[in-house]
């Protein structure tokens, strides 16, 4: 019997495919964001609002990740330059997108005709935090009906987020959601996070979110030159 040292990161395979994805995106100057939230927080609504606001400035494509159905892809197909639906129910990871799924999706997207790729992850606050996809920015949406305790209950997804969106702000008069407490908890683990308070229903706050996105895209394209 002998002991053989290995010391190998088990997520290395995913991380190396994610790096390849980002190289391919950078080659075509496509900026990608990974949008994560619990089911029903407003990922598809945010995508539709973002496209409505920015479609005159950017060519936007969407990757939809769902356990089942093509409902979300159908909602965005008339708005985006291209849509790829990933249905995860028969895959070994069905609770999150992983880099390999995005690698396949990129093959069927017209990358040279795209400026911004919005990746809608599977609705889940746990599993997507473990898998990078090759995205440039990670965005987490929390909506008011979910309650203000999510950063404390699901810390890892908030710890790595570049931006956190507080959605359904139009419901604030009816709910006991403590926005400062939510922000304090999310910032506790993530000092660099940006917050956006908005309503995809009324459009309130979408302007700020889109300005940030445009700035990030600009900063990334300058880095690539």
């Amino acid at each position: 019997m002998r002991k053989i040292e290995v010391i190998q990161n088990i997520l290395e395979a995913n991380e190396s495919i994610a790096t390849q994805n980002q190289c391919l995106l950078d080659k075509h100057k496509v900026f990608a964001i990974n949008i994560m939230s619990s089911p029903g927080a407003g990922k598809t609504s945010l995508i539709l609002q973002t496209i409505a606001k920015l479609k005159n400035k950017l060519r936007i494509a969407v990757v939809e990740g769902d356990v089942a159905s093509t409902l979300d892809a159908e909602r965005v197909k008339n708005e985006a330059v291209a849509v790829v639906q990933i249905t995860t129910r028969y895959m070994s990871e069905n609770c999150t997108l992983i880099a390999n799924m995005i690698s396949h999706a990129l093959q069927s997207l017209p990358l040279k005709d795209i400026d911004l790729l919005l990746i809608e992850n599977v609705g889940n606050l746990i599993c997507p935090s473990e898998f990078i996809l090759g995205e440039h920015k990670r965005v987490v949406i929390s909506s008011l009906p979910e309650g203000d305790d999510k950063p404390t209950k699901y810390p890892m997804i908030f710890a790595d987020a570049d931006a956190v969106i507080i959605n359904k702000l139009d419901l604030l008069p009816y709910l006991d959601f403590d926005i400062p407490a939510f922000r304090h908890a999310a910032e506790g683990l993530n000092a660099k996070v940006k917050f956006f308070e908005l309503s995809c229903k009324t459009g309130m706050g979408i302007e700020n979110w889109c300005s940030w996105l445009l700035n990030e895209i600009k900063a990334n394209s300058q880095k690539l030159i």
Partner: protein, 113 residues
């Protein structure tokens, strides 16, 4: 349910290593899993038993070493293991911290003959 793909990776890494050192049987795989990582040892064991069938890793035991969650206070740099989910620095009471440990997920070693 994201342990299946992860367990496939564990089996592949262990089999590759065993081949490299010309081992004929893997008896144990020593894994380090961080307390903050979202992976469940029981789930990995379940999939491992299934995925290692008919390979030289069949019947190997999995040993999980749990790496504790550790935070570093952004105000005073104290490194501490949190006692609750509020994550307050025990020295200066700041609630602004960064993760210093607990997200590990790697194969430390295999035991083989």
């Amino acid at each position: 349910m994201h342990e299946l793909g992860i367990t496939e990776n564990i089996v592949n890494i262990a089999l590759d290593k065993a081949k490299e050192v010309q081992a004929s049987k893997i008896t144990k795989i020593n894994l380090v899993i961080g307390e903050l990582s979202g992976f469940v040892p029981d789930c990995i064991q379940f999939y491992f038993d299934f995925l290692s069938k008919d390979s030289i890793a069949e019947g190997a035991s999995l040993h999980f070493e749990l790496a504790p969650a550790q935070f570093r206070c952004r105000s005073c740099s104290t490194v501490f293991c949190p006692q609750n989910t509020i994550w307050t620095c025990p020295k200066c009471q700041s609630q602004s911290v960064e993760i210093a440990g607990g997200r590990e997920l790697y194969i430390e070693s295999i035991e083989a003959k």
